[in-house]
Amino acid sequence: MKVQRILALTKKEIKKTVREPAVLFMIFLFPIIFVVAFGTAFGGSGSGNVVYNIGVVNTDAGSSTVYSQHFLNTLTDTKILNLQMYTDNMSAQTDLSQGKIQAIIFIPKDFSQSLASYQAAPNNPEQWTNASVSLYLDKGSLVATQAIPPILQHGLLSLTGQGVPIQSSVSLSTGTLVEVNTISALDFIAPGMFTFASIFLIMMVGQSFAQDRENGMMKRIRITPTSSTEFIASQVVSYMCIALIQAALVFTLTYALGFHPAVGIPTYAFAFILVLVFSVSNVGFGLITATIAKSSGAATGIAFIFVIPQMFLGTFVGASLSSAAQTACRFVPSYYVTDALTSLFLRGASITSQAILIDLAITLVFCVGILAAGIALYSKKFKI
């Protein structure tokens, strides 16, 4: 394998991306315009019969824990919250960082005592034993951050027998992970943007192969000593470079618009690596597109067979999907990339956490499999 050949073909492919206005638009401008427009239009809270998984760490102690039980029963009765009990805060925090639950309610040990003191002297705050229920929210879920706090507040008010907020011995405080007032639609959709931009490589790869076949360039290259391995390697390297540029552009744009995740350089580096790995699967899908398409024009349309599911099931577009669609998500690689990026940027997961490593492993398996399938199908029908 000659590096000189791979570099020459890579350089050619990147020049094409920069110089062809249609390619330039599709690869760089379209995702950015679309993401901004889509984020603006659909970045708000979701609605419908959504159920949130909530972790509960109940440390309420003392002679009676009747108030905490009543509080939890009230929350369960809403049919919106699915409560999961934890014996310690640490394991609950781990599940929160991995996206398994959307929030943690930490009930303090003096919870019932506090409410008992309130009931004994409701008009005399000096007699109250004050307590604070802590709430930790998944910053990766905009809907959760906006929907869950009012439900909890309502549950607490029901304990005091009041329908409107009043002064009480028990208050709701937000934990360190919660920034309900500062999270924006942009924060919520930003991880999906990185994935979204790369998906359109499928169309470009499909068009490029079909076009080179149409105009005889594939034939011309096959007459040179360039091997099929060198050619495919050049395509993978080219589109990884393009994906890197895309990710850098999207990141710069989102950063300029206010997306400032509190993560370090290693996390950013890891996020870029994830996007690079993901681009390999898009080369594979592009090859499958080129195999099916008889012309470059047809490749544009056929590419949507792969673009649309990846877009709707695996990026920010799929934020409020039905349960069936959420199952289908598991079959598209973009889902795992977006999930990992969300965990990294918004849930504060470390790059070595189990959730991230599993996402990376599944993405790798998808990418290698799809690229291998693409090469096999294309070379069976056409020569490379």
Partner: protein, 248 residues
Amino acid sequence: MNEPAIEIEHLVKKYQDVTALDDLSLQVGKGELFGLLGPNGAGKTTTINVLCGLLKPTGGQASICGYDVQKDSSKVKELIGVCIQETAIYPYLTGAENIDLFGNLHVMDKKTLRTRQNMLISKMGLVEDAKRRAAKYSGGMKRRLSLILALIHDPQVIFLDEPTVAMDPQSRHAVWDFIQELKTQNKTIILTTHYMEEAEELCDRVGIIDHGKLIALGTPKELIAKNSVKNLEEVFIKLTGRNMREES
């Protein structure tokens, strides 16, 4: 004929029920300029595609400079240069960038590539346009660039598949001069063309194929004399008929 550079033995190529090459045997000597003539769909391009390793023959064998075109295809591809029938160039690259790309695919060192690039651009009259995008080139300029891409690595055996199609008379004569210069460098050349005066002017020998079979072989003068006609075009018409053909 010198020692053979190209040897074709009983070559057969079938596409389902169509026989494109039918037991074709031929030898082309080193340094020879050989014209491969025939009507549309006669099998000229199929022959070249088999020799380049683009097509797998159904039967028979072929070799270039002693290397089997199927078994040693990577070695064969180092030795050959092919100006294909399609004007295949990358429109978004400049002429010089197209040449650079194909030089690098042949793993040429930078200095040699630059030297040959300048020489070929100059000979093909593309000096002023080398840094323009190829998309802006005229049809003739694209053909000349296509010829440079085939020759950049200084191949020993050259296939020119209708190299002067769409060229004006000036460009065509410039290309003829260049082809003759290649011959003086002892290059082996197979030229396919529909211009009989081109074949008569340039070729040492010509072979006329029709329906995949070799139906005539000799120098232009020999074929003219043997068929008692005035020129090669009349030989061609006499042997292949007046019916119009289409590419299959």
